[in-house]
Amino acid sequence: MSIRINQNKCIGCKRCCDSCPGTLIDIQNNKACMLYPKDCWGCASCVKECPVGAIDFFLGADIGGNGSTMHVEGKGDILNWQITKPDGETKIITINRKDSNKY
């Protein structure tokens, strides 16, 4: 699994459910819930769709994960990817959907 849903932040809007290409997320007790954790592709669609930044993306330890997480706080075309390291240090990378990749 490469996502973790923060139950305190989740508002149960269902956008993550509709964006998962594997239909792996469902609403239970008004909160989003990952039904099949090992089946996650790690595409981060749900992370980008979540309007309240409630979904953390991380790497499994088997592929180099070292405890950092990242989530997106977006507004319109702007996606602010916030990376939080285990020691609390944060880094923000801003993507504007109107800008093309340079490479």
Binding site: T23, I63, K102, Y103
Partner: protein, 580 residues
């Protein structure tokens, strides 16, 4: 029956729903969505899209796409693309399919730009090329842009969360399909005058790079399970070139794309001793994988893309580019504490896939993308003969299939859908629905000895060890293939006994069955091509050289439960029509 009765399925019947439409599109990925859009724009035909997830981000483009990889750049022509793809596949391609796709690359790209896709332009307003055939975009929201246009299109019904399992075929003509809801206790019988299969290729056949916790951190969507191939094989459609497997060369562990580094910042493939080995083995897609495998075998691994030669200022843009298509790689750089300019990126080959968007595996179609079954079309990753079509090729094939469907159905005087289908087909429908219910009706006590997950792992192990997976450096011999065939046959019998506790598990059960059907066909194809035409993709150690007697297509068809191999001569003309 009250809705509450469906809370537990055991011992119950599924609710039946009957749908009538002009065109059924199976799979709402890139090809399926663009076909729906085309039909809606050019006719008044009713379209019904059956999508097992949700078209918003389903299919290969869930995460996004890093570039348009098939484009006719300034000064080049579609024929150049045909030449390139032909050479890359050592001649086993269909010129007619490549040319017609290439002729539509630019027009479909322009259409996507009109719909909202961001494409990088220079000061003259021309697209900026990346290499000879690529242009630079922001592809993070490619699929949502396309899905939005489909949602707004007239006469198109999108049915998300419905999984199709079988086509309704009688006397070699398609009349519709059947499937079930992934969430509700409902099964569907869909009658249509034409059907387009636009599902994905097949992932998960072989043991993956990361078999543990991150087992689904793979190149191709793990949800693309070969359903479209399987339903065609079961109905007797002819398939081509399954033996031209696709193995991607990727960033190690994250399985993120390498093109952005290799082409975007011109990083070379180097071994652990710093030697640039890519020139030694050749630059075709399979040679790039093979070279990496060989260097590892020779003790020169690990292999890398040399990013330490890039400028520090390029780091940030690379981190951003990867966030737009493979965020795990960006996170990996951050986790390691070193940017790409400070450490080379380790690379590895993935497990093999069957995917018509990259190699030539898939349905054997005519130039208009009709399969060997009348009124059944195929487009995108599920359609064969047209490798390296990528995203724009999927759009092009969706459009080409849609054009022919529109022409035939509007020309046809008989505009009424056949309200009644043949008694034989009605029987088929009931038999299939009964098989869904059999899997679901466990009565709580007859749970199968083997769970679906175990059988899936067993299948992946067999394919890995005996049909040329990662652990054998993608190589195999005749004896191993015979063992693979025998073992897959046994697993197929076991898979018939799996049970499911809900509709989502029923989906898993069918995905396992589909993969086993594709494995069986794949092994038959690997056995039939008694040569090594492409290193790694099809490397038979009993026949290590290319044999010009095999300058042919290896096709196959299921007849009376057996896979019949058909060798066909290479098609050179601009137009191909099915003859026999």
């Amino acid at each position: 029956m009250e809705k509450g009765d469906y809370d537990t399925i055991m011992g119950k019947k599924l609710e039946r729903k009957k749908i009538e439409t002009d065109v059924l599109i199976i799979g709402g990925g890139t090809a399926g969505c663009y076909a729906a859009l085309t039909i809606s724009r050019k006719s008044n035909l009713r379209v019904w899209i059956a999508e097992k997830a949700n078209i918003k981000r389903s299919g290969c483009l869930a995460a996004g796409v890093n570039a348009i990889n098939a484009y006719i750049t300034k000064g080049r022509k579609p024929e150049d693309y045909v030449d390139y793809a032909t050479k890359d596949a050592a001649g086993i391609v269909r010129h007619d399919l490549l040319l017609t796709a290439a002729e539509h690359f630019n027009e479909t790209t322009a259409d996507m730009e009109r719909l909202g896709l961001v494409i990088l332009k220079d000061e003259n307003g021309d697209y900026v090329a990346r290499g000879n055939r690529n242009i630079k975009i922001n592809g993070e929201n490619f699929k949502p842009i396309l899905a939005k246009a489909v949602a707004e299109a007239k006469n198109v019904t999108i049915q998300n969360q419905v999984n199709i399992t079988d086509l309704l075929v009688d006397e070699n003509r398609v009349y519709g399909a059947v499937g079930f809801s992934v969430k509700e206790n409902v099964c569907y019988e869909i009658h249509a005058r034409a059907v387009l299969v636009a599902t994905g290729g097949a992932a998960g056949l072989y043991k993956p790079n990361n078999p543990g916790f991150s087992r689904h951190k793979m190149w191709y969507p793990p949800f693309n399970t070969g359903a479209g191939y399987a339903m065609g094989i079961k109905s007797g459609a002819e398939m081509t070139s399954f033996e031209m497997r696709f193995i991607a060369l990727r960033c190690k562990d994250t399985i993120a794309p390498t093109g952005t580094i290799a082409q975007g910042v011109s990083a070379k493939q180097v071994n652990a001793r710093g030697f640039v080995y890519e020139d030694k083995y050749g630059l075709t897609t399979s040679e790039r994988v093979y070279g990496t495998v060989r260097e590892n075998q020779l003790g020169n691994g690990p292999c890398y893309l040399k990013t330490t030669s890039i400028k520090k200022e390029q780091d940030e843009e690379l981190l951003k580019a990867y966030l737009n298509m493979a965020p795990s790689q960006t996170l990996k750089w951050i986790e390691s504490g070193k940017n790409p300019s400070e450490q080379d990126v380790e690379i590895e080959g993935t497990e093999p896939y069957i995917v018509g968007g990259h190699t030539a595996s898939g349905y054997w179609v005519n130039t208009k993308r009709e399969t060997t079954i009348h009124m059944l079309y195929a487009a995108g990753d599920v359609a064969g003969g047209c490798p390296q079509k990528y995203v724009t090729g999927a759009l092009a094939e969706g459009e080409l299939a849609a054009d022919d469907i529109v022409e035939k159905l509007t020309r046809d005087a008989d505009t009424e859908i056949e309200k009644t289908i043949a008694a034989k087909l009605q029987n088929d429908v009931e038999t299939i629905f009964a098989s869904y219910e059999k899997i679901l009706n466990t009565n709580g006590e007859t749970k199968n000895l083997y769970a679906m997950e175990e059988l899936e792992e067993a299948m992946q192990k067999v394919m890995d060890e005996y049909a040329g997976g990662i652990s054998t450096n993608y190589q195999f011999n005749e004896k191993q293939l015979a063992l693979a065939e025998e073992k897959i046959e046994k697993l197929t019998v076991l898979a018939n006994e799996v049970t499911a506790e809900n509709m989502h598990e029923l989906l898993f059960a069918y995905e396992l069955k589909e993969r086993l059907i594709v494995c069986k066909s794949l092994i038959a194809h690997l056995k039939a091509r008694k040569e090594t035409r492409w290193h790694s993709f099809n490397e038979n150690l009993d026949y290590p050289d290319t044999d010009e007697n095999y300058y042919k297509y290896v096709n196959s068809k299921l007849e009376n439960g057996e896979i019949k191999i058909i060798f066909r001569d290479i098609v050179k003309g601009a137009e191909y029509e099915h003859q026999n």
